[in-house]
């Protein structure tokens, strides 16, 4: 029986994961140099631009050992961001081994540690690799010691590699064969195939990427998705080579794909188990979770007639991305749209960008927020409700207690930036837990933070405050009581629901002042004066005024000015489409976006 090795790569962004993966593809002859597109595995435009992996990928390679023996490698590439911890866990589940790749010049980052611990928890064999040893700044000794401290290996266990020059790649390939355990090839047991990713294809439906954990799947088998309880036929199965390569059988230990005209987007979810309809497995592979959204935001079409297009785009995205949830929402300001739940901020940005790029739909998104739990007391009648939309927050008079989600954040930063990091955390209502000095002048700082403070540009601030050196990992801990209020924004007395936010009482004044100032900047002068107010309940805490337009007329309009002026009007018409009427006031869509990007230093 052919030897198989299933492994993944754990690495931080920029630590050279993709370059090294490319090198493996080259050395195993999976891909010729001519076919080489940089970073083959990240095939979404967005992934390549951001240099991160958003979805899991897999690729099968045939490695011919110096002894002449042939071994099948299945490399499963995993997402590299804290938002996608669940996807990572499923990808790890599909492997027996993991390459821990650390940039010899930069050292271990927070995200790497968290993924590494997950891999150790799942009993994966870890192969430590120091990458980028060719760089002048490479600190092989020091970073090597970090790895030793982290996983308790010997210095001699660490491979030294350069994905760029190819140094050490031969040794790495041999090490994979030697150290990563072969999968159990229990081909006669009932079928259990783990879906570690699924993508959607317009013509073929959902394509599930699977690792067969036990049993045998044949082409044409009647299959059952255990968690979603849906039945399909395995119309096509195959291996994931550079392109999909159909085959007749996938056996225990194999990694491949299953196509079965799975139309419904929710039927083939990451983490689900595929088995046979007849004589199937009794129990699914443990660990399946319905992903729980942590961040919520309203998504509205810029033009109301795009509502149905937006709905179908979200449906399609959800096929590919089971962690995206959404439900219809109506806003007085923005009309019909959706309230969507995301795993985190990056996930939210990705969805927004994909709506724009892949579906070409102009959208307006509202300020992201977390889910609150609110106890209300209405004339003695107490109720506890979940609030995931600021405008649903009951009026201040009725609110007894508000609970908000807290996270534990681990931030690894060079010691030089302890000050800025702590200042940022303090500003965001953080509770300091501890700091651990690590090898290489680096510190692991732990804080408890309200999640609401982190979803709003925390990561950007962290990065800019540490010149990009800090890395962040976090996990949800619990809901805690907080002195939180709903801050409304009113234009000429009309509340703009899409601009409401939930904020800590101590920050409400400052936040309200900034939003008012920003709106003043963004809302064009209109025929009448516009009063901008920020209010908690009926109490106005900040205000600004946009003066009425007093002069707006071109001085010269003769024979040579007509075309230019008409084109200006055409442009204005485009802009008008992007305006939203709230009461008597017209708001450009940028206003809804800009409140998102409001800077602390404004």
């Amino acid at each position: 029986m052919t030897q198989i090795r299933n492994f993944c790569i754990i690495a931080h962004i920029d630590h050279g994961k993709s370059t090294l993966a490319d090198r493996l593809l080259e050395r195993t002859g999976t891909i010729t140099e001519r076919e080489m597109q940089e970073q083959v595995l990240d095939d979404m435009d967005l992934e390549r631009e951001r240099g991160i992996t958003i979805k899991s990928h897999a690729i099968r390679m045939k490695y011919k050992r110096p002894s002449g023996e042939e071994v099948i490698f299945n490399l499963i590439d995993t997402p590299g961001h804290v938002d996608f911890a669940y996807e990572v866990s499923r990808a790890l589940k599909a492997c027996e081994g993991a390459l821990l790749i650390v940039d010899a010049a930069q050292g271990i980052e927070a995200q790497t540690i968290s993924n590494l611990y997950q891999a150790i928890e799942q009993d994966l064999e870890i192969i430590p690799v120091l990458n980028k040893i060719d760089l002048p700044g490479a600190d092989v000794e020091g970073v090597g010691q970090q790895i030793v401290d982290m996983i308790g290996c010997e210095h001699s266990d660490i491979l030294h590699v350069s994905g760029k020059t190819g140094d050490g790649v031969e040794e790495l390939l041999e090490e994979i064969v030697e150290k990563v355990p072969a999968p159990k090839q229990e081909v006669d047991k009932p079928l259990k195939a783990l879906i570690f990713d699924s993508i959607f294809n317009t013509y073929r439906g959902s394509i599930a990427y699977v690792r067969v954990m036990q049993g045998t799947l044949k082409k044409g088998d009647n299959i059952l998705f255990m968690a979603s309880d849906k039945e399909y036929d395995a119309e096509e199965i195959g291996y994931l080579e550079l392109k999909k390569k159909p085959c007749e059988v996938l056996k225990a230990g194999d990694v491949g794909y299953v196509i079965g005209s799975v139309k419904s987007l929710q039927d083939a979810r990451v983490g689900d188990t595929i088995t046979h309809q007849k004589d199937g497995a009794d129990e699914p592979i443990p660990g399946y979770k319905e992903s729980k959204p942590m961040v919520f935001s309203g998504i509205f079409p810029t033009e109301s007639e795009d509502f149905e297009d937006l709905r179908s785009a979200l449906e399609k995205l959800q096929l590919n991305d089971a962690s995206l949830s959404y439900q219809p929402e109506t806003s007085k300001a923005l009309g019909f749209g959706f309230r969507a739940g995301f795993l985190g901020l990056l996930h939210m940005e990705i969805v927004q960008e994909r709506l724009d790029r892949e579906f070409n739909i102009d959208i307006i998104t509202t300020v992201p927020n977390v889910q609150y739990e609110v106890e209300t007391d209405f004339k003695g009648e107490k109720k506890r409700v979940q609030v995931e939309n600021p405008s649903e927050m009951p009026d201040a008079g009725m609110v007894e207690t508000v609970w908000e989600p807290y996270i534990k954040a681990s931030i690894i930063t060079p010691a030089d930036y302890i000050g800025p990091v702590m200042k940022l955390c303090q500003n965001r209502r953080g509770i300091y837990l501890n700091q651990i000095f690590m090898q290489g002048n680096r510190v692991d700082i732990t804080y408890e933070l309200p999640m609401a403070e982190v979803v709003f540009d925390f990561y950007d601030k962290l990065k800019s405050g540490t010149r990009g050196y800090a890395s962040l990992d976090y996990e949800f801990i619990e809901y805690r009581k907080g002195d939180l209020v709903r801050l409304d924004i009113l234009l000429n007395g009309d509340p703009v629901d899409a601009l409401s936010s939930i904020t800590h009482r101590d920050n409400a004044y400052e936040h309200g002042r900034k939003v008012c100032a920003k709106l003043k900047e963004l809302i064009p002068q209109q025929q009448y004066e516009v009063a901008i107010q920020a209010a908690i309940g009926s109490r106005v805490i900040a205000r600004d005024t946009i003066r009425a337009l007093r002069k707006d007329v071109t001085a010269k309009c003769y024979g040579g000015d007509v075309s230019r002026k008409r084109k200006l009007i055409e442009k204005q018409k485009e802009g008008k489409k992007r305006m939203k009427q709230v009461g008597t006031v017209e708001i450009p869509q940028e206003a809804f976006l800009a409140v998102l990007s409001m800077d602390d230093n404004d």
Binding site: K551, D552, V553, T554, K556, G559, G560, V562, S563, I569
Partner: protein, 381 residues
């Protein structure tokens, strides 16, 4: 009937606010005049030459930098190629060029309306604008104009300049009114990006004047001129009754016009759905090559509904407004219910003086005309 506009692309120096096409070197004046005469002949084959030319406007640049002889050759060419029965022949000139003799000679050529680029009588402001003349030259030129006894003439003013107070504007207006001019064009300063002024504003060296200040000056100007019997008939144009500019007013009425010379624009609208606009390249060098089809650019063919919007955009700037009957008959454009409703509301609030047969903006409406015109047009989207 059609008008002819001729662009003379030469100036002594660049005014800081001006983004018209001109050269400050004059050695190509005669080659330009020769080419212009060829261009005039070229349009003898264009259907627009079938129309009687009733207005001629020679602008620039600085037409007064041409010699009377050069101007004569241009007029001769025009009369050879076109049927010219002028009701108005305007020539733009700068105070520093004007002599009694020059004025007499152009009158002989048939120029019956002089347009004098005064802009201001304030020495500092004139320097700021980088004008070639000083206040004394401005006064002298106006005196000569008065004496020359043109059937009509006009003087340009610019207001809303950085550093210009209401008092300074008042002085400029009073000074001009002492000459009792039949027509005044008063423009609020527009900061164009590709000018010296535009660059300075971009660099933060000069702050543009606040709109509220300009709005006050607009009102002040209107008050002063109106009480002197010089009535506003367009956003920036004021005239004694019957002295309104014919050629310029025709732009706002969609009458055909042929633009000659570099950067000149043309409109030819022979039948309902076939309006054409084009312009000449803003490049004297290519103009001198006399490849007349190659000189034309930005050719546009406009639909009736586009023309209707243009008509509103242009006509609402004037005291005559736009007649609904004409909109319907000439442009097939009927004001819809949403627009009617909005117009009524705006009229109640004083922005329009009439919204029934003709749509006419009020004085306060004129001040925000661009805004109101767009609001009216966009209520159809």
């Amino acid at each position: 009937m059609a008008g002819i506009y001729i662009h003379i692309p030469f100036c002594k120096q660049a005014c800081s606010y001006c983004d018209f096409y001109f050269l400050t070197r004059g050695e190509l004046k005669q080659p330009f005049v020769d080419a212009l005469i060829e261009e005039i002949r070229h349009y003898g084959n264009h259907p627009i030459s079938d129309e009687t030319i009733d207005t001629i406007y020679i602008g620039g640049g600085t037409p007064s930098l041409l010699t009377p002889k050069q101007l004569k050759s241009i007029f001769t060419a025009l009369e050879t190629v076109f049927t010219v029965k002028p009701v108005e022949v305007t020539l733009e000139m700068n105070p520093d060029d004007v002599t009694e003799e020059f004025l007499l000679k152009i009158q002989d050529l048939g120029v019956d309306r002089a347009s004098m680029g005064v802009q201001s009588f304030d020495e500092k402001l004139l320097q700021f604008m980088h004008r070639a003349h000083d206040p004394i030259e401005a006064v002298d030129a106006l005196k000569l104009l008065q004496k020359a006894n043109f059937p009509s003439y006009t003087a340009d003013l610019i207001y809303g300049n950085p550093g210009q107070t209401m008092e300074m504007l008042g002085k400029d207006i009073d000074r001009l009114l002492t000459f009792d001019p039949p027509h005044i064009s008063a423009y609020s300063l527009t900061i164009e990006p590709k000018t010296r002024l535009g660059k300075q504003v971009e660099l933060g060296r000069i702050d543009p004047v606040d709109d509220d200040v300009v709005a006050d000056q607009f009102d002040f100007l209107y008050q002063k001129l109106s009480s002197a019997g010089v009535e506003q008939y367009e956003v920036s144009n004021f005239a004694k009754p019957g002295k309104e500019a014919v050629h310029n007013s025709n732009y706002w009425r969609h009458k055909n016009y042929l633009g000659l010379g570099p950067s000149a624009h043309s409109l030819y609208w022979p039948d309902a759905d076939n309006a054409q606009r084009w312009k000449n390249r803003s490049n004297l060098k290519s103009y001198l090559e006399q490849d007349w089809d190659g000189v034309r650019e930005d050719e546009e063919s406009l639909s009736l509904s586009e023309m209707a919007e243009e008509r509103l955009m242009l006509g609402l700037r004037t005291k005559w407004g736009v007649s609904k009957k004409q909109l319907a008959e000439r442009y097939g454009y009927t004001i819809n219910n949403k627009q009617e409703e909005w117009l009524k509301k705006q009229q109640e609030q004083g922005q329009f003086t009439s919204v029934d047969d003709a749509i006419i903006l009020s004085k306060t409406g004129l001040r925000i005309a661009d805004y109101l015109i767009f609001e009216l047009i966009s209520r159809r989207l």
